[in-house]
Amino acid sequence: MNLKLRKPPFPFSAAPTPATVEPLSGKKHTGIDYETEWARSFPARLARLAVLEGVLRPTMKVIASPDCRGLDRLHDLAGKRRSNEPPQPVIFAANHHSHVDTPLLLSSIPEPWRHRMFVGAAADYFFKTRVTSTASALALNAIPIERTRVSRRSADDAADLIDDGWSMLIYPEGGRSPDGWGQPFRGGAAYLALRCNVPVVPVHLEGTGRIMRKGSKRLTRSATRITFGPPLWPDRDAGDDSRRMAVRIERAVAALADEASTDWYTARLRAHRDATPALSGPDPPSPWRRAWALGDRGPKRRRASKRRWPDLG
C-alpha cells in the first residue's frame, strides 16, 4: 500500500515569503515561542484521545504491524492501583528513523503513560507555521524543542511538565536518521532525567525506516519491532552528568538493537564484552558499504510474496 503525502499548493496552503522580501515584523507565535498549554486542557486531551485511539492506533496497526517487546520491564514503574500509588513519570528515549516513529510509539506505549505523554518536537520543523504548530500540539501533545542550541525555555517547559506527572517522548539523536544508521545521542534526555530525577526508558525502533525514511513522501507497509529496555535511573553518586548519562542511554539503545537483531543472551554477552555493535554503524565511511551493512540488521522476516502464475489465457 503506498500513500503519497504532498503539501497542498497555494492557495490551499500559505505562500512562502520571497527571499528578497523582508518578512512582516511583530511578535512571533510559532517556533520556540509557540504556547502549547492549551493542548493539555480537558477538551484538547479528549480530542487527542479520540485521534490517538480512533485514527492513529488503527492506522499504525495496519501500516506498521507493531511487535512490542520488553513491556514487562516497565512493570515496577506503573504504580499500584490498590494503594493509589501514581505511575512514575518517565522519559522514553528512542532512536529516530521516520515520521512514523511518533504516532507508532504514542500508540504502543502502554497505559498508564500513553494518555499522559508529551513529545519533544523540533521547533524549526513541527512549529514552523501556525497550522503545523496547532496540529502538532493537538495530535501529539508536542512541545517545541530547539535542536540547534541549548534553550532554557525548552528545558524549563519540559521539566515543569515532568514534575507535573507527565511523561516525555524524546529522540536524543535530534532528528531522523539520514541513512538508516543512528546518530550520536545528545544530552537533552539525560539532562531532564537528572534535573527531575526520573528514569529514562530506552526504546529501540526497528523497521520504521522502511515505512517512510527521511526524504520519502510515500508510506509503505512494513512490520516493525519496538523494544523497551530496562529503566535507567540517574545516579549522581556514580558521577552521572548529562554527558555520561547520554552515553549510557545510547549504549542501552544499542544493546536493544542488538537484542532485536540477535537474541537477548547474545546481546548481553556482547554488552559485557563491550562488543555491542554501535548504532552509528560500521566505521568505513563509504556510503555503499554502510548501506550494505545495514542489510544485516533487523530480524530476518520476509513477507511471503503472492505467487503470480502467468495468464495462459
Binding site: 517487546r69 514487562d72 520491564r73 515496577d76 543472551y265 547474545t266 548481553r268 554477552l269 559485557h272 564484552r273
Partner: protein, 529 residues
C-alpha cells in the same frame, strides 16, 4: 502496615462467611458460640526494588556458598532449573518472579562469558509446559534466546539415557536426577516458595528426579508420617529428600539455590473482595459478590473455568535468598511464616473449608474429583504446624461441586484410576500394593507423558497418597455441593447444604461440635497450640 491473621469467634453478630466452591463461592452462616474462623494475614508489602534485591542476594549468598559471579567462568557448563507450572497459584502477573531471577543469573553468566547454558523446567512427573506457559515463566527474552536452539526445555524423567544415577541413601533410597543437571559445573535452582512445603532439597531431589527416585518418598508410609507436609522437620517426605540431598552433594553436584517467597496478594480487581474480611466489604464489593456469584452459578462450567483460569495473581516478591541449600531454605521458611503463620488455640471437632477452582495440578485444566481430594485432604488439611486443626476422628467438611469431569489430555491416567482403581478400593495401602506398578510402567502413559502434555501414569496415585495422613486421621469427610456419584466413588459423603453436612457430621462428633473454618485462599499456615 499489613494486619496479621487472626481467629474470629463466631457469635450472633457475625455475618455469613465466604466459602469457595470451585468456580464459584457461597456465603454460609456458621453456628454461633461454638464456631471460629481463621483469617489469613494481609499481604506483606512487596520488596520495593526487586531487581536490586535479587542482585544483592546473588552477591551476598547464605551459608558457605561463594557469590554467584565467583562460581561462573568461561567454558563452564551452567544449568538453570526452575519450578514448573504448578507454582505459584494462581499463576502470577508478568513479569514472573522466575523471569526476574533467571535474567539476573544470566546477566552475570553473560558478564563471565558463559556460553554453554541449559534451562530446564523441573517437572519431575508433572505434565510438560506449553510454549506460552514457558514464555510466561521465563519471559519472552529468555525463551527466544534459548528455546529455538534447544537449550530451554522440559525435563523428561523417562529418558533413561539423560537421567543420571547418583547413588543410594543409607536407607536404600535411590537418587536419580537429570544428567545435564548432575554433570554441570554449576546447577542453579530457581524456586518459588508459595508454601512452607516447597523448596530446600525437595527442589532438586524431587523436581529433577525420576520415578525410580520419587517412589522412595512419594508413598503411603512416608506421607502418613509427614505431619505435616508444611513442617519440614516433622515431615518424613522432607527427611527423605534431605537424605537424598546428601547423596547429591556427595556425588559432587554443585548447587546454587535461589529461593523466593511471595506475598499473598492473590486476586486482582474486581475479584480482590475475595481477600477481604466480610464485614469490611464495601457496597461495590457486595454488588460484585452478588453479580459474580449469581452469574457464575448460571454460566456453563466451561465458561466459568475460562474466567477463573484467566486470573493472574498480583503476587509480589516478599523475599529472595540465595546460596547454600540448607541455609537458604531456613531463611525462606522464616519468610513464609512471616507471611502465613496464624496462631490457633487447640483443635476442633469439625474443620470446614471452601475449595477453590485451582490446585497445583490443574493450572489451565480441569479440577477432577481426585484433585479435589488432593487439594482438600492433601494440601488444605496439611496447612498446620504441631497438630492438625481437627482432632483425630473428627470430621472434614469441604465445599466443591466435584464434577465427574477430567481433562483427557492432561489427566489420562486419572480417568482410569478413577474408573478402575477407586471402583475397587479407596485404601491407599491396597492401592499402592496392587495397582501402582502397572500404572507407573504403562507404556501408553509413558508415551503421553513424554510426547503430549499428560501427567505421568503414576501421578494420580501420588495425589491419593497425598491425602493418606488425613484419611487415617479423620472420622468422616463430607463434600457440600458435590456431585453425589463422584463423591461416593471417592469414599466420602455428599451433602446439599452446610446444615445437612453438619447434621451428617453429628453421627461422628455429636450434636454440638466445635467448628473451625479455614478462610483460604489466600493461604495461611495454622500454628496449632
Amino acid at each position: 502496615m499489613p494486619r496479621p491473621g487472626f481467629v474470629l469467634d463466631v457469635d450472633r453478630s457475625t455475618p455469613p462467611i465466604l466459602f469457595w466452591a470451585g468456580e464459584g463461592f457461597r456465603l454460609e452462616r456458621l453456628p454461633a458460640e461454638r464456631s471460629r474462623v481463621i483469617y489469613p494475614p494481609e499481604p506483606l508489602d512487596p520488596l520495593p526494588h526487586p531487581e536490586a534485591a535479587i542482585r544483592h542476594a546473588l552477591l551476598n549468598p547464605l551459608g558457605d556458598s561463594k557469590p554467584l559471579p565467583e562460581l561462573l567462568f568461561p567454558g563452564m557448563r551452567l544449568t538453570i532449573a526452575f519450578d514448573d507450572i504448578s507454582l505459584p497459584l494462581p499463576p502470577m502477573q508478568r513479569p514472573d518472579v522466575r523471569q526476574r531471577v533467571i535474567e539476573a543469573v544470566l546477566d552475570m553468566a553473560a558478564e563471565a562469558g558463559v556460553d554453554d547454558v541449559h534451562l530446564i523446567a523441573a517437572l519431575a512427573l508433572h505434565r510438560r509446559m506449553t510454549e506460552p506457559e514457558l514464555r510466561h515463566a521465563v519471559g519472552d527474552r529468555v525463551y527466544d534466546a534459548f528455546a529455538p536452539t534447544g537449550h530451554l526445555y522440559n525435563m523428561d524423567a523417562e529418558d533413561t539415557d539423560n537421567m543420571a544415577y547418583l547413588g543410594s541413601t543409607e536407607q536404600g533410597e535411590e537418587v536419580e536426577i537429570v544428567r545435564r543437571a548432575a554433570e554441570s559445573d554449576l546447577l542453579v535452582y530457581v524456586n518459588i516458595n508459595l508454601v512452607a512445603m516447597d523448596g530446600g532439597w525437595k527442589s532438586t531431589a524431587t523436581g529433577l528426579a525420576s520415578y525410580r527416585s520419587l517412589r522412595h518418598h512419594h508413598n503411603v508410609r512416608t506421607l502418613q508420617h509427614s505431619r505435616s507436609l508444611m513442617d519440614r522437620h516433622k515431615s518424613a517426605l522432607h527427611t527423605s529428600n534431605w537424605r537424598m540431598g546428601k547423596v547429591i552433594t556427595d556425588a559432587g553436584v554443585k548447587i546454587f539455590q535461589i529461593e523466593t517467597t511471595l506475598n499473598t496478594d492473590t486476586f486482582p480487581p474486581p475479584f480482590d473482595f475475595l481477600m477481604k474480611r466480610e464485614w469490611e466489604w464495601s457496597a461495590k464489593d457486595r454488588a460484585l459478590f452478588l453479580g459474580s456469584s449469581k452469574s457464575l452459578a448460571r454460566a456453563p462450567s466451561r465458561l466459568a473455568r475460562q474466567i477463573f483460569h484467566s486470573i493472574k495473581a498480583p503476587h509480589a516478591m516478599a523475599s529472595v535468598q540465595a546460596g547454600e541449600v540448607d541455609a537458604v531454605h531456613e531463611e525462606t521458611i522464616r519468610n513464609v511464616h512471616r507471611q502465613q503463620l496464624v496462631e490457633v488455640e487447640g483443635q476442633t471437632d469439625v474443620l470446614t473449608m471452601g475449595l477453590p477452582y485451582i490446585c497445583p495440578y490443574n493450572v489451565n485444566s480441569i479440577m477432577n474429583p481426585i484433585l479435589v481430594m488432593c487439594l482438600g485432604l492433601g494440601y488444605f488439611f496439611n496447612l498446620y504446624r504441631n497438630k492438625p486443626l481437627v482432632r483425630e476422628g473428627g470430621v472434614l467438611i469441604m465445599s466443591h461441586p466435584t464434577p465427574w469431569e477430567f481433562h483427557p489430555v492432561h489427566h489420562p491416567s486419572y480417568i482410569d484410576f478413577f474408573e478402575q482403581v477407586l471402583a475397587e478400593t479407596t485404601d491407599p495401602l491396597r492401592i499402592e500394593a496392587e495397582f501402582e506398578k502397572s500404572y507407573a510402567e504403562d507404556e501408553w502413559y509413558r508415551h503421553l507423558y513424554r510426547t503430549s502434555y499428560a501427567y505421568h501414569g503414576v501421578h494420580p496415585f501420588y495425589m491419593w497418597y497425598w491425602g493418606a495422613h488425613a484419611l487415617q486421621h479423620l472420622g468422616r469427610v463430607i463434600i457440600v455441593g458435590g456431585e453425589p456419584r463422584a463423591v461416593r466413588r471417592l469414599g466420602f459423603m455428599a451433602a446439599s447444604t452446610m446444615n445437612d453436612a453438619l447434621e451428617m457430621a453429628s453421627d461422628v462428633v455429636g450434636h454440638s461440635p466445635t467448628i473451625t473454618h479455614l478462610h483460604a485462599p489466600p493461604l495461611l499456615l495454622a500454628d496449632v497450640q
